[in-house]
C-alpha cells in the first residue's frame, strides 16, 4: 500500500487509488467538479490541481495515481491561485443567476466560489449566451450555467447505457446537449439533476418548488419496484417535493430511475382515499368479523394482502387472519420473477436496474405470509368466493377486480360476497364494490421495513404525517383486533418487528431501531441450516 503525505499528513492509499480518492477517503477535501466517484475520470475541470513534489507542473489529483513517498500540497499558494483562476474562468460566461436557479444551495460551483473565489470578477467583456433547448419532460437544460464537466455525457454513455449527450462546437462556444436535439429517452435521465454539479441540468418536476435549505430530507425507500432503492424524500410544509437517490453500494449505488422519482405523485393523487366510508367503519368491520368468529365461521373470511405493504403490515395481517379470525384463506399476489442478475453491476443500468416485479416487498410477503401453513394466491380467493367457500373478504392495498385478469368474472364473484372491505390508499374498481373502505397511508407516510428482491431488509421512513384519516395497515389491523377483544399492544412498527424477529425465519436479526443505513441481509435459511448441520454432524458431512 503506497504511503503518501498530503498537506503534511501521512496517509495510506489503496493500490491504484488516485490522489483525490485517497485524500477524500481520509477526510481531506480537495475541491473537484468533473470528478464523480461512479464515473470515469475525465480531468477536464482542473479544480483538483495539486502540487506534487518533483512534478514540474500542477497535477490533477483525480487523474494522478497515489504513489509511495509522494508529497502533495493541496493548499499551497500555487494551488490556491490555480483554483481561484479556474473558478474565475468558469464564471466568465456564467449568468450569476443563483437567486433564480434551482441548484442554489446545493451547487458545487456556488460552494467553491464562496470558499475559494474572488470577491469581484476581473472579466470586463460581454458574456455570451446560449440558445434554450428543451431536452424532454424530466430535465431542464440551461447551457449558460454549464461548466462543461461532461459528467452528464459520461453518466448517460457509461452508466445509463444510452449515449444521448455529446459536445458540440469548440472553445468557449462548446455546448453540451443531445444528439440531433432529441429529447432524452433514458429511463434514468432524472439522475442528471444530481450528476450535474451545477444548475445546468435540473429536475423539471421540481422546478421552482423549493429551496434546498428550506427543506427537510428523510432517508427512505423508493416503493417503485423490488430493488428497494434508497432515497431521500425532500419535504417542505408537509409536502414531498422530490425523491432523490441515497447512496447504497449494495442496492442502487447513487441512482434512482425516473419512474421511481415520479412515485411521489401518488401521495397527492386525486384518487387518494383519505376518509373511511363512515366514522364507525372500524367498529362495523370488527362487528362483521365478530359475528362470524362467534358462529365459528372464521374460515369463511378471506384476506388478501399486497406486497406493497410493509413487513409490519403483513405480519399483523397474518396474525389477525390466523390467530384472531382463524382463517387459512390468506393470500397475496406474488410479484413477477426476474431472470436478470440483481446487481449492482458495472454494466449499463438498463441491463439490471429496474426490476420486473413492480412491488417493493414481494420477498417480505413470501417470507411472512408463506410461513403460515396455508396461503393462497388471489386467484384462488376469487374461486373460493365463486364456490361460496368464503363469504367475506378483506382486501389490503390490492385490486383483484383488475389484477385477476377477467373483470366481469371477478366483479361477479366479489358481488356474491356478504361483505367486502377494502383497506387501501387509492380508489380502485375493487374499492368501488366494497361495503367499507378504510384509508391506508402512502409510502411517504409510513414507518416500516421492506425486504427487497435480494433479501435485504431496509427501512421505510415516514417523511410527512399521514394524510386525512389514513394510517398504516398494521395500525388498522391492531385497532380491529382490539375491537375483537385482543390484548395486542403494538404501538409502533418497532414493536411489531420484535415479534417478527422471534417468529419469522431469517428475520431473527431484525431490530427496527438499529437497522443499518445500507439495510440488513436476511439470514439465509440454508445458511442457518448449514451452520446447524456443521455444528451437529461435522464428520458425517465430510465423509460424504
Amino acid at each position: 500500500m503506497p504511503k503518501l503525505t498530503i498537506d503534511g499528513v501521512e496517509i495510506e492509499a489503496a493500490q491504484g487509488q488516485s490522489v483525490l480518492d485517497a485524500a477524500l477517503a481520509h477526510g481531506i477535501h480537495i475541491p473537484h467538479l468533473c470528478y464523480h466517484p461512479r464515473l470515469k475520470v475525465s480531468g477536464n475541470c482542473r479544480m483538483c490541481l495539486v502540487e506534487i513534489e518533483k512534478a514540474p507542473k500542477l497535477q490533477i489529483s483525480c487523474g494522478t495515481e497515489a504513489r509511495d513517498g509522494m508529497v502533495v500540497q493541496t493548499k499551497s499558494e500555487k494551488v490556491l491561485k490555480a483554483r481561484q483562476s479556474v473558478l474565475e474562468f468558469m464564471l466568465i460566461n456564467h449568468p450569476l443567476d443563483c437567486p433564480t436557479c434551482d441548484q442554489c444551495g446545493e451547487c458545487k460551483l456556488q460552494d467553491y466560489c464562496s470558499e475559494h473565489g474572488q470577491e469581484e470578477s476581473r472579466y470586463g467583456e460581454e458574456k455570451h449566451g446560449f440558445d434554450v433547448l428543451d431536452v424532454g419532460p424530466d430535465i431542464s437544460r440551461n447551457m449558460n450555467r454549464c461548466i462543461h464537466c461532461t459528467r452528464c455525457i459520461r453518466f448517460l454513455r457509461d452508466v445509463a447505457g444510452s449515449e444521448e449527450f455529446t459536445l458540440y462546437e469548440r472553445g468557449s462556444h462548446t455546448t453540451v446537449g443531445p444528439y440531433l436535439e432529441k429529447a432524452l429517452e433514458s429511463p434514468f435521465s432524472g439522475n442528471l439533476a444530481e450528476v450535474c454539479p451545477v444548475g445546468a441540468l435540473t429536475c423539471k418536476h421540481f422546478r421552482f418548488k423549493g429551496r434546498s435549505w428550506l427543506m427537510e430530507k428523510s432517508r427512505t425507500l423508493c416503493p417503485g419496484c423490488a430493488r428497494g432503492c434508497n432515497a431521500y424524500a425532500w419535504t417542505s410544509k408537509q409536502e414531498v417535493l422530490r425523491l432523490t437517490p441515497a447512496e447504497n453500494d449494495f442496492v442502487n449505488q447513487s441512482w434512482l430511475c425516473n419512474a421511481g422519482r415520479a412515485s411521489i405523485a401518488q401521495i397527492e393523487a386525486k384518487n387518494r382515499i383519505l376518509e373511511p366510508t363512515r366514522a364507525t367503519a372500524m367498529e362495523e368491520l370488527a362487528g362483521v368479523l365478530r359475528a362470524l368468529i362467534e358462529k365459528d365461521e372464521g374460515e369463511k373470511v378471506g384476506v388478501l394482502a399486497s406486497p406493497r405493504l410493509t413487513n409490519e403490515d403483513l405480519y399483523l395481517i397474518r396474525k389477525l387472519a390466523r390467530e384472531v379470525i382463524g382463517t387459512t384463506h390468506l393470500a397475496f399476489v406474488p410479484g413477477m420473477s426476474d431472470d436478470r442478475p440483481f446487481g449492482p453491476l458495472d454494466t449499463p443500468l438498463t441491463e439490471w436496474f429496474i426490476r420486473a416485479d413492480p412491488t417493493p416487498n414481494s420477498h417480505g410477503a413470501r417470507d411472512i405470509l408463506h410461513s403460515t401453513e396455508h396461503t393462497e394466491n388471489a386467484f384462488d380467493l376469487i374461486e373460493a368466493a365463486e364456490k361460496g367457500e368464503i363469504s367475506s373478504l378483506l382486501v389490503f392495498s390490492e385490486d383483484p377486480v383488475t389484477s385477476f385478469g377477467d373483470v366481469d368474472r371477478a366483479t361477479k364473484a366479489l358481488g356474491q360476497l356478504d361483505f367486502l372491505a377494502v383497506i387501501d390508499s387509492h380508489f380502485s374498481p375493487t374499492a368501488e364494490l366494497a361495503r367499507l373502505v378504510v384509508p391506508e397511508a402512502s409510502f411517504a407516510e409510513k414507518d416500516g421495513t421492506f425486504t427487497n428482491e435480494q433479501g435485504r431488509i431496509q427501512r421505510l421512513r415516514a417523511a410527512i404525517p399521514a394524510r386525512g384519516h389514513s394510517q398504516s395497515a398494521w395500525q388498522t389491523v391492531t385497532e380491529v383486533a382490539k375491537h375483537l377483544g385482543t390484548v395486542w399492544t403494538f404501538n409502533s412498527a418497532a414493536e411489531v418487528d420484535r415479534e417478527i424477529a422471534s417468529k419469522i425465519p431469517g428475520y431473527q436479526d431484525l431490530d427496527f431501531d438499529t437497522l443499518p443505513l445500507e439495510g440488513l441481509a436476511l439470514v439465509q435459511a440454508d445458511e442457518a441450516d448449514q451452520a446447524e448441520a456443521e455444528e451437529s454432524t461435522p464428520d458425517q458431512d465430510k465423509k460424504e
Binding site: V41, S42, G43, N44, C45, R46, M47, L49, K57, L58, I60, G63, K81, A82, S85, V86, E88, F89, M90, I92, N93, R122, Y123, G124, E125, E126, H128, I147, H148, T150, T166, L167, E169, R170, G171, S172, H173, T174
Partner: protein, 432 residues
C-alpha cells in the same frame, strides 16, 4: 548551398511516382532494414540523434524504444500530417513531392518497434497531399512494398490515409489518436502515454512526417553521417518554412543550426522593399517572438531554447516595421481561442478572454491594467491545461508583451492603433 536530403528530389519531374523514387534508390533502405534485427534499427536511429520534427524535438529512436515488445493489443504507427500551426507548411510538400519517402520511413519505423499498421493522419484541408499519399500507397501496394509479406521478408506492413476534419488540436498526439479512432478530436489525459495505451488501446508511436522521411536516409548513409549534418545533439538538416515580409518566402532545407540571420538575409534575400525587420517568430506561431537584435542565433532545438524560445516546426514568420504587434498577436489569439477543443476550463475560457481583451486594445478600447491582466490570464492558463494548446497561446502572448510592451501601452494611451484602424474582417467577435 548545403546538402539537400529531404528536398533533393523536389525539382525532379514526377518525383511523387514510384518509378522516379526507385530510380533514385528508393526502398533500398527498407530492404536493408528488413535484413537487420528490429532492435538494431532502433539503435541506429537512436545513434543518429534524430529528433522529432513536429515541434517538441523528442529523440525518435528513444520514442520507438518505449513501445513494449510484447503487447496484448496490436501496435500502431500514427504519422502526424496534421500540420496546422500557422506558419508551418513543410510536411505538405513532402507528401506532395516525395510521398514514397514517407511510406518507406513509416515501414522502417513499424518494423523497428513491431507495428504492422500505420495511419497517416492528414490535415483535412490538404487535398493534393492526401491524393498523392493515396496514389503512392496504391503504387507501393501493387509493387509489394505495402501489404502482406513486403519484399518477401515475412513482414506485414499496411498503411492507410486518415483525413482530418479541420481541427488544429488534432496535431496533438492524443487528440490525433482520438480523431483517428473516429471520435471528437480532444486530447487525452497522460498518463497513460500513447507508447503504452494509444490508438484503439494499443501501443502507439506518433511521428511527424518530416521525422519519418529522414529514416530511409539514416538507414542508407548511417547514423554518424546524419549526426554530423548539424551541431551536437541537433543532427540532420531541417526544413525551414519562411513566410512574411521577406523577399523570397518558401521552404528551405538547411543544416540544423543555420543562423536565423543568414536564413532571413542570405537565403530569403532580406526584408521586402525598403522595410526594416521588426520581429521574427522562429518556430511556428506558438513560439515566443524575437526582436532584430536576437536573430544572430543558430536555428536548432537547444540554441533557441537558450534564448527563451523554440525551434518548434521551423516555421519562421518575419514581420517588418509596418506590422502592428498588437494586431498580429490578436490574430494569433483568435486562432488559438477558436481552435481550443473546449474540454478543459483554463484553455476554453482563458483563450477567449485573452482574445477579447486584445481585440479591445487594438480597437482603441484598452483599459488601464489590461496588460497585466493579460499576463495574469496567461499565467493561469499555462501549465494548467490537459494539452499544450493553452500554452501555445499563452507563450506568444507573453512573448509579444515582453518584447513590445510599449506598443501595447501606446494603444491603450492613444485609444487606438498607431498603425491604422482595425480592418473590418478582423474586428469580429471571439467566435471567429
Amino acid at each position: 548551398m548545403a546538402e539537400k536530403i529531404l528536398t533533393a528530389r523536389f525539382e525532379t519531374p514526377d518525383s511523387h511516382l514510384l518509378n522516379t523514387y526507385q530510380a533514385d534508390g528508393g526502398y533500398t533502405a527498407l530492404k536493408k532494414a528488413l535484413t537487420m534485427k528490429p532492435e538494431e534499427v532502433i539503435e541506429l536511429v537512436k545513434a543518429s540523434g534524430l529528433r522529432g520534427r513536429g515541434g517538441a524535438g523528442f529523440p525518435a529512436g528513444l520514442k520507438w524504444s518505449f513501445v513494449p515488445k510484447e503487447a496484448e493489443k496490436p501496435k500502431y504507427l500514427c504519422v502526424n500530417a496534421d500540420e496546422g500551426e500557422p506558419g508551418t507548411f513543410k510536411d505538405r510538400y513532402l507528401m506532395e513531392l516525395d510521398p514514397h519517402a514517407v511510406i518507406e520511413g513509416s515501414a522502417i519505423a513499424c518494423y523497428a518497434f513491431g507495428a504492422h499498421i500505420a495511419y497517416i493522419y492528414v490535415r483535412g484541408e490538404f487535398k493534393v497531399p492526401m491524393e498523392r499519399m493515396e496514389q503512392a500507397l496504391a503504387e507501393a501496394r501493387e509493387a509489394g512494398l505495402v501489404g502482406k509479406n513486403i519484399l518477401d521478408s515475412g513482414f506485414d506492413f499496411d498503411m492507410w490515409v486518415h483525413p482530418g476534419a479541420g481541427a488544429y488540436v488534432c496535431g496533438e498526439e492524443t487528440a490525433l489518436i482520438e480523431s483517428n479512432e473516429g471520435h471528437r478530436g480532444m486530447p487525452r489525459l497522460k498518463p497513460p502515454f500513447p507508447a503504452v495505451v494509444g490508438l484503439f488501446g494499443g501501443p502507439t508511436v506518433v511521428n511527424n512526417v518530416e521525422t519519418l522521411a529522414f529514416v530511409p536516409h539514416i538507414m542508407n548513409q548511417g547514423a554518424e553521417w546524419f549526426a554530423k549534418l548539424g551541431p551536437e545533439r541537433n543532427g540532420g538538416t531541417k526544413m525551414y518554412g519562411v513566410s512574411g515580409h521577406v523577399k523570397k518566402p518558401g521552404i528551405y532545407e538547411l543544416p540544423m543550426g543555420t543562423s536565423l540571420k543568414e536564413i532571413i538575409y542570405d537565403v530569403c534575400g532580406g526584408i521586402r522593399g525598403d522595410h526594416e525587420l521588426k520581429a521574427v517568430i522562429p518556430g511556428g506561431s506558438s513560439t515566443p517572438v524575437l526582436t532584430p537584435d536576437e536573430i544572430d542565433v543558430a536555428m536548432d532545438f537547444d540554441s533557441l531554447a537558450k534564448i527563451g524560445t523554440m525551434l518548434g516546426s521551423g516555421a519562421i514568420i518575419v514581420m517588418d516595421e509596418t506590422t502592428c504587434m498588437v494586431r498580429a498577436i490578436t490574430r494569433l489569439a483568435k486562432f488559438y481561442s477558436h481552435e481550443s477543443c473546449g474540454q478543459c476550463t483554463p484553455c476554453r475560457e482563458g483563450l477567449a478572454w485573452i482574445h477579447q481583451v486584445l481585440v479591445r486594445i487594438e480597437g482603441g478600447q484598452g483599459r488601464e491594467g489590461d496588460i497585466d491582466l493579460l499576463l495574469d490570464i496567461c499565467d493561469n492558463v499555462q501549465g494548467n491545461t490537459i494539452c499544450p494548446l493553452g500554452d501555445a497561446c499563452a507563450m506568444p502572448v507573453r512573448g509579444f508583451i515582453k518584447k513590445f510592451r510599449p506598443e501595447f501601452e501606446e494603444h491603450i494611451q492613444k485609444a487606438g492603433c498607431p498603425i491604422g484602424p482595425f480592418p473590418a474582417p478582423w474586428a469580429g467577435s471571439a467566435k471567429g
